[in-house]
Symmetry: C2
Subunit: 306 residues, 2 copies
């Protein structure tokens, strides 16, 4: 079937057509380029929501609860879940099955798990491509859920319009420098599993850290949630909507879109370079570097043709 026909089917809610478009893009089939060009042209102003937090903070459950809230508002929800996988467990596949269960049969929810290893493309570039296709297929919001808070995952959620950082009670205990990094990227905080302990300390810690932050005209709201019971989810969805309105009514929305465009182009360039890094030319260069005749940095200059 022609990709153009696939689009029509996908926008009408045909899951198989959408799945095929996503697969074309993810597997870098020959048709990927026209599909992506098409998707970019068609893309509506979908709201891109990043959800991140430490493993075990309940991000998936929270995402599922948010989906239910958005569905009640008749929104079509797309999700790209960046899952780690491994030859040992096949993590992504497992994740897919668990996640899909709740919303299976709902044609207006589409969840795609993406393994962060063993992909043909780079993490950032593949996420950009999948998110673009979901947006073009009419999903709004489109959620990017990441498993960890490593640099590459932070990079990926950084391209969202609104970033939700999920914490748990007790998270503020102790001094760990690496906690601070996620403060910078959060537009909304959810303290999830609020039934497991007092959220006061985490909230207080967040507030004191936010006080030290540079002044902006958006103060990240902090919402207590119990995702497993659906508690606080409406408030969280409200906070996300408020941030969306903030983006629209201020310069910040345009600034983020510009940053995202730059990020997408950079990821695509990196991906293009990676594909070039093969062939007999490269083998000769690598052999020279291995022998010590050439250093990696001069080799890179040669490969870049400068």
């Amino acid at each position: 079937m022609d990709p153009t026909d696939l689009w029509d089917e996908a926008r009408r809610g045909d899951r198989r057509a959408l799945a095929r478009l996503l697969r074309i893009v993810e597997d870098r089939h020959d048709e990927a380029r026209p599909v992506l060009a098409d998707a970019w042209r068609r893309r509506p102003p979908s709201h891109l929501v990043g959800i991140t937090g430490a493993p075990g903070s309940g991000k998936s459950t929270l995402t599922n609860a948010l989906i239910a809230t958005w569905r009640a508002l008749d929104r079509r929800v797309g999700v790209v879940a960046v899952d780690p996988s491994s030859p040992f467990t096949g993590g992504a596949l497992l994740g897919d099955r668990i996640r899909m269960q709740e919303h299976v049969g709902d044609p207006d929810v589409f969840i795609r798990s993406m393994s962060s290893r063993g992909r043909l493309g780079g993490l950032a570039d593949t996420t950009a491509a999948l998110v673009t296709v979901l947006g073009a297929a009419g999903f709004d919001p489109v959620v990017i859920e990441t498993v960890g808070v490593g640099q590459s995952e932070v990079e990926v959620v950084h391209h969202a319009d609104t970033v939700v950082v999920v914490l748990t009670p007790g998270w503020g205990d102790g001094v760990q420098a690496d906690k601070a990094g996620i403060l910078e990227i959060a537009d909304v905080f959810a303290i999830n599993k609020a039934d497991r302990g007092s959220t006061t300390d985490t909230r207080r810690w967040l507030e004191s850290m936010l006080e030290m932050a540079p002044d902006t005209n958006w103060e990240p709201p902090i919402v207590d949630t119990v995702a497993t019971e659906g508690t606080g989810i409406d408030e969280l969805a409200d906070a996300i909507d408020r941030h969306r309105r903030h983006l629209i009514t201020t310069d910040e929305g345009r600034r983020r879109r510009d940053r995202r465009v730059r990020g997408y182009v950079e990821a695509a360039v990196a991906e293009g370079m990676r594909r070039r890094m093969s062939g007999p030319d490269l083998d000769g260069v690598l052999a020279a570097v291995s022998s010590g005749a050439l250093d990696p940095w001069t080799a890179a200059d040669q490969l870049l043709g400068s």
Copy 2:
């Protein structure tokens, strides 16, 4: 001072000369290229040890304890600590001070903390450069200690000869797919904080996971440690040395060096591309992508000149 003179000073144990070489390389000064070419030519077969694990597993304390053991064997130890930092806390700087304390004044230990944000170069490329300089200055082993187990950090330790993964008692509890990823990269396991609980479950979990791993001629040893008391550190150092011998006596050593060379060249190419991604040409392309006239993937092709 001429970089060649700095090398002579650095190899004689002059910390200020070494610090200057590292700064030239890290800050991408004009002299960085000849310094790196020089370092690559001079590099001796230093053993590159990666140490990684979840935040809070005690990696820094373990690294410090290993340094003491290696110093007792009269080895000169270099460390590149990949620290997250943030405008809020200045994490790397703090880390530097804490880490340096114990071995301050020992000219045969050099520890360099590297912030993973706000650097001019990419994480992988800067690590490669620092590690190359430390090796060329005569440090052996050279340790790369990373804070998290995100993808970019896994990439960085993947370039080591021997990767130590640090776990804690109770780590095997519950099923989390993202645990499996680190099994793939480990050559040696340390179950640290063995005084805080039984290591039996974690050990059993690891053993059962390793049984499912593809057959190789190296079975990752599992060492119980209490880094704060120095317990198990000699055994850990032994396990690392055994792996080093394994690399030398099998094909695996060459295979890893080749992989590292490829990784270094790829990182340098990515870095070179990143520096190119600026200027008026790019601005025009980004504006076209923002307006929807061009998609990011076609834009990347144009920028790559293909």
